[in-house]
Amino acid sequence: MIALSCYHCGLPTHEGGPTVTVDGAQQPVCCSGCKAVYELIQDNGLDHYYRDRQQPPAETAADTRRVSARRFQADVHRNGDQAALEVYVEGMYCAACSSLVETTLLSIDGVERASIDPLNHRLNVSWYPARIELVDWLNAITGIGYRPRPVTVDGVSPARAEQRASLKRLLLASLGMMQVMMFAIGLYAGDAQGIDARMEYFFRLVSLAVTTPVVAYSAQPFFIGAVRGVAAGRPGMDLPVALAIGLAFFGSVYSTFTHGAEVWFDSVTMFVFFLTLGRHVELRARSRATEKADALRPQLPNTATVIRNEQQVDIPIAEVRTDDLLVLMPGDQAPVDGVLLEGSTSVDESVLNGESHPQTRSAGDEIPAGSINLDTCVQLRVLRTGDSTVLGGIRRLARSAQLGRPQMVQTADRIARLFISAILVLAIAVAIVWSQLDPSRAFVVTLTVLVVTCPCALALATPTAFAAVHSWLSSAGLLLKNADAVEALAKADRVVFDKTGTLTLGRPNIADVRVTDTTLPRDTALQIAAALERHSRHPLARAFADVDSALIAKQVRAVPGHGVEGHVNGQHWKLGTRELVSGESDIQRRSVCLGRDGKCLAEFTLADPLRADAHDVVRSLQRRGLAISLLSGDGEAAVRDAANALGVQDWQAGMTPADKLECIRDWQAAGEKVVMVGDGINDAPVISGADASIAPSHAADVAQTRADMIMLGHRLQPVATALTASRATLAIVRQNIAWAILYNALALPAAAAGMVPTWLAAIGMSASSLLVVMNSLRLSR
């Protein structure tokens, strides 16, 4: 038998095993896992990996990095013959990494489920211990180059451990700084009044003793960051910092033992203390933003009660399928999205939209996962499960917005990196010039230049502001989907509102029914309309949701901008505008018509009240100098009423999405920045055409909308908040950048000229970056 090695992992394999097709030729692989990984890599167009890799992955990889399953055993949950475990996966940087790990695991026989949360790098696995050992699938992860770790180390999560370490570093630096400063005062006084040489040497030795742990422990992250940056070929702001700390510390050590003129232990500890303080504050701000996002991911119940074979059974949530019948007892939290089958109950949906008031839901209404049933025991038909639920959509959004890096942050990053390279070049130039002018001061001046320049202020200016505004927005009930929208919102000139579902709640009710044909009873007309509208996603369709209808509509088709048509009881009915139903034109569009054979048989008058705070919000936007427009597809009368009630002069009715888009294009051509506030689904092209967009969340649509921001809840206030917050963010970013430029422009020449003492440089630099972080934090409220 010929010895073959796996094309993917290099392990020995045998003939007749699984193969993959590489450039038309068959290549052996050792297992279906490798085959799946190869195909995944190829499908993503990454097969150059196989050409580029220097050598096949060392087969020792899997052996030397074997994990001990013992550390994980404590976290394993057993459930019948299945086991579940959450682990933290180290070394993942992107979505491709997580899908590689997931696919690898799922291809293993006995692994039932594997899913990764990219935000916190946690992997959830369910498997059958009878078919595969824990240690085997853990090793499959190590085999492809990632490292599973227990989620908790002695009961502490990695994020918490990071915070604790940061606090320890800060404390050590502050204690060290206070001590060294005390000795430094002695030394400075000694310089002025004269000091016993032995005493001076003693003070320096003591300072060295205190500074060493500060540099070794508190300043560790800067050294690690600098080395990592250099290794990756992208020196970050840690490099000049690490250089400055290292030079100052070792220069002082040298000076101590050679009885040189000066030591800078005080500058070193102070520098480390302020930098550590800045890092700590930044870390706290970031973790607070993450906590807010985590608040949107409540723990859903693990089991659900469903009806199988006319019996109630409790099954794990993973086994609930669409169209199952779910029993929801009072006090239960819905684990999946479902439709209420009969009766009515009140639910608490505060998890989804912050609305703390109980909501009444009756048959036909959707009850999204996460809402809590308050009243009666009800039955739901399951609509969506797992990640496709509304709640899942919100979580995904919150995650993707946090991972995304807005354009402004990327630009700031690039500038900061250029700046860092410039500083390094400048420091070398200063060293050369001063070694010609005054060699005895060359070292001090170069050190001061390195210390005084503050790329941190420049590098932190934008990202900290964006991180901070994130938590402001989420506490105001806004989900930021596209962080670039912040910039566009801040520069907005005009806000365009859609009416239905935006200025109004989109919960219309039937105010009046007028039957024009006596052969059609009023109730039948209502029931036919309700049956048709059950298939429509148009906001007006909700008005009919309360109607009890036993009729079923078939072959229902939506006519965009007009209504729906379909078969009920064998007859072809049309429901919508008068134009659709009878062909007559109707500018008023006050009512919805129901008819067949080109005749209008019944008319429904619908009323959709404005959101309670719509008037105040529109007024406050106008006071801020924004032009307000109202573009609606509704009839003229209804739009005019709404516009008058709100005090909006510029309104147009009866517009199709294409008309709206054209309007927006015209404004944009006139040089205006336009913000669209409207439904993210019906108005998708308009939303994409505007410079920035905000969509109200009609629960079910959250995940699919194209809008940049989504507002939760029943108030319009988030629109005003979004504009305020965006303007504030841009203002803060400008202040930060202006400060960073001003500071560096003043400090750098002074330091290069040798006019700044080292300790002052340390204070200036640290205070400058701290100022930027604090300024940004004003946004997080």
Binding site: R164, L167, K168, L171, Q179, M199, V206, A209, V210
Partner: protein, 49 residues
Amino acid sequence: MSILYMLIPVGLILIAFAAGLFFWAVGNGQFDDLEEPAMLVFDDDEARE
């Protein structure tokens, strides 16, 4: 002034002790949540039972 040769090392030992105590407190979770404990006083003990 030679008393300093003794006092300063004694001071350093005290500082080391304080740092050690603080490290223990951090490791013990004393600083993990600085907000909730302040709210605990509003929690009605009887209502909980």
